[in-house]
């Protein structure tokens, strides 16, 4: 299955996989390089530790606003991101810390954005919901449900306009498939055959509303058929399944230019945001999420298959914890933006007669 990801750049990807020491030739990880598997575990663990630190920073009032975590969705996040090239573009909703990390942004810069510091991904202007980094190809986290979907379609239009070979991935939650922007943007992407893969992370909940209560067709990948688009569902708790399916759809978009819809079924381990105690959730639903914990389960599989031993796993966990702690330290040490920069980002083409004033300033 590795071939699908490497078709356009066979030399580099295939080589790096084969060159690793202990490729498993049989068993559950047949054909996978051990190095790559450990890499996925490392990334998932980093997201886990990072999000735990984010939750902590929030309760310490170091992080303000809303703070939506990827806890429980790590396999989906890492699987999706490993299907993209660095030059491919990603649009997400507000639940994007993990995506920023897995797309290759320094943990310190991600944490610094949560802390509202100038060293953050959006220089402290965005916060948890609005991270951005052109170099990493993260074209934004967006706080309005569904707002990112037409934008992603437009980015794909720009790629198509310039005959580029990038693909756009557009992440959203299950609740988002019911807003008009979803339908308008998927229709347009299909009409114009644009290279965009829409990904619905179905964690069964939009805040407190279940997918069955909000979506008349709760098997969300089926909605693709309304737009003559390929739709597919994958186990979002299995990083390899997500990677393989996403890789196939991304490659399809790259080669044929057309869009696809991928539904990754996952679970939210905690509330909608850090402050949500999730009282609306049944014991069974919480237990189901725990049973499906993608990080713990992947760890167990790796140890069982001999890809990692207990010490190796602990080492990865220690290093992820150290990275998360370092991110916090970096954020803590970073400066707050100067108030004198308040008017710097209203317009890209500056204007002479803009009302640049603070409430305390005289009018003229």
């Amino acid at each position: 299955m590795a071939e699908t990801a490497t078709r356009t750049k066979p030399a580099t990807r295939a080589k790096s996989r084969r060159s690793s020491a202990s490729a498993a030739n049989s068993g559950p990880f047949s054909g996978e390089s051990a190095e790559l598997l450990r890499g996925y575990f490392q990334q998932m663990t980093l997201i886990r530790r990072f999000e735990e630190r984010a939750a902590q920073g929030y309760t310490q009032a170091k992080i303000g606003g809303y703070c939506h975590l990827n806890l429980g969705e790590e396999a989906t996040v890492v699987g999706l991101m490993s299907a993209l090239r660095k030059t491919d573009l990603l649009f997400t909703n507000y639940r994007e810390h993990g995506y920023a990390l897995a797309k290759g942004i320094e943990p310190g810069r991600v944490m610094a954005e949560l802390y509202g510091r100038t060293t953050g991904t959006s220089k402290g202007w965005g916060g948890s919901m609005h991270m951005f980094d052109v170099e990493a190809g993260l074209l934004g986290g967006y706080g309005i449900v569904g707002g990112q979907i037409p934008l992603a379609t437009g980015a794909a239009l720009a790629i198509d306009y310039r005959d580029g070979d990038q693909v756009v991935m557009c992440q959203m939650g299950d609740g988002t498939t019911n807003i008009g922007a979803f339908h308008e943007a998927l229709n347009i992407a299909a009409l114009w055959n644009l290279p965009v893969v829409f990904v619905v992370v179905n964690n069964f909940l939009g805040m407190g509303t279940t997918v069955e209560k909000s979506s008349a067709e709760s098997e969300l990948y089926k909605r693709a058929s309304a737009y003559r688009m390929h739709g597919e569902r994958v186990d979002g708790n299995d990083v390899l399944a997500v990677r393989d399916t996403a890789t196939r759809l991304v490659q399809g978009a790259r080669e044929s230019g057309g869009p696809a819809l991928l539904e990754a079924v996952s679970h939210r381990l905690k509330g909608h945001s850090v402050v949500d105690p999730a009282k609306y959730r049944s014991e069974e639903s919480v237990q189901e999420a725990r049973d499906n914990d993608p990080v713990a389960n992947f760890r167990a599989r790796l140890v069982e298959a001999g890809v990692l031993d207990e010490d190796g796993a602990k080492e990865i966990e220690r290093s992820a914890q150290a990275d998360a702690d370092a991110a916090v330290a970096f954020a803590d040490d970073s400066p707050h933006p100067e108030v004198s920069t308040l008017f710097d980002y209203t317009y890209a083409t500056p204007v002479a007669n803009d009302s640049r004033r603070l409430p305390a300033d005289p009018v003229f």
Partner: protein, 331 residues
């Protein structure tokens, strides 16, 4: 110097800019095969093809958002929104996304797009199709809102809007499309955010934009010819950024002002102008600032009602005379 219509000025500018810059493309409902509801884009599909003149489904949020996304990657979409009334369906993409992406991401990407859209009443189109809601957009930092009143300005401002790196709402007016005016052979892009003193005078300042800027000039000329009144006319041209300096300076000279606007009075653009005059020229004022605006009703279809509801040359003339009477300046 040629005399052409406002419509022609817009058409010529779009065509010239598409020739000049491959990144400029047009997107909107019925702009290609149908040649635009108001025919601004006539012939452009034949000339530039479907890639650059893109007919969309009736999905304002979808295609405005797609234009924003394309602009984030450096293309320069010029969106035609059939009329400003339908822009409300795309409000989220305009206000929450186009306007904020530059600031929200700390200046890392801008949205160089133009939203062309006609507004205005007087065509008996009823309440949902006759609104002057440019204020909704002029309220939002991050957007620029321009409103040309003449063919020459339509050209200069559209050039500026297309070349600007920010999202610009380009307000047209149904009543202006067939109006004619002189347009120089070579037009430079206007400076967005600069008002124009379109008629110099000393007795009173009349401030307008779009259709009412033209009405203000007619009224000023007539009052001059018939009554010897010397009114100064300021055409705002840009609603955001707002050039306070130009009209405040004018009022400092004349001592009184009337604002002529097509939108509704309460919270309207005239309210902002009057407040700015009070801030910047209070000591120079000889009379309260008067505002002539649309009646505060959903615009009716029936002709006599519609006519009565819209500001006109007559209502503006009355307001100017009454203000001059109040300051004892009527001859």
């Amino acid at each position: 110097m040629a005399v052409i219509t406002y419509r022609q000025a817009l058409h010529d500018t779009l065509r010239d800019e598409m020739h000049r810059d491959d990144d400029v493309f047009l997107i909107g409902e019925e702009i290609g095969v149908f040649e635009g509801s108001y025919k601004i884009t006539a012939g452009l599909l034949d000339e530039f093809g479907e890639k650059r003149v893109r007919d969309t489904p009736i999905a304002e949020e979808g295609f405005v958002g797609a234009a924003v996304g394309a602009a984030m990657l450096g293309l320069r979409p010029v969106v035609e929104l059939m009329t400003i009334n339908f822009s409300l369906v795309a409000l989220d993409q305009i206000v929450n996304h186009a306007a904020k992406i530059y600031g929200m991401f700390g200046g890392q990407t801008s949205v160089p797009m133009v939203l062309r859209t006609p507004g205005g009443g007087g065509q008996q189109l009823g309440a949902t199709h006759s609104q002057n809601i440019e204020l909704y957009y002029a309220f939002v930092p991050g957007l620029k809102v321009v409103a040309p009143s003449t063919p020459a300005d339509a050209k200069a401002l559209l050039l500026a809007a297309i070349r600007d790196d920010d999202p610009v709402l380009f307000l047209e007016n149904l009543a202006l499309y067939n109006t004619k005016g002189e347009v120089p052979d070579h037009v430079e892009p206007a400076e967005i955010g600069k008002a124009a003193v379109t008629r110099e005078g000393t007795d009173i300042t009349i401030i307008g934009y779009s259709r009412m800027a033209g009405v203000a000039t007619q009224v000023a000329e007539k009052l001059h010819d018939e009554e010897g009144i010397n009114a100064e006319v300021v055409d705002l041209r840009s609603l955001r950024p707002l050039d306070r300096e130009t009209f405040v300076n004018s009022v400092r000279k004349t001592g009184c002002a009337v604002v002529a606007e097509d939108d509704w009075l309460t919270y309207g653009i005239g309210a902002e102008i009057a407040a700015s005059i009070s801030d910047g020229a209070f000591d120079y004022l000889d009379a309260p600032v008067r505002r002539v605006a649309s009646a505060e009703v959903p615009l009716p279809y029936a002709k006599p009602l519609e006519t009565a509801a819209l500001p006109s040359a007559e209502s503006l003339t009355t307001a100017v005379r009454e203000t001059l009477d109040a300051v004892g300046r009527r001859r």
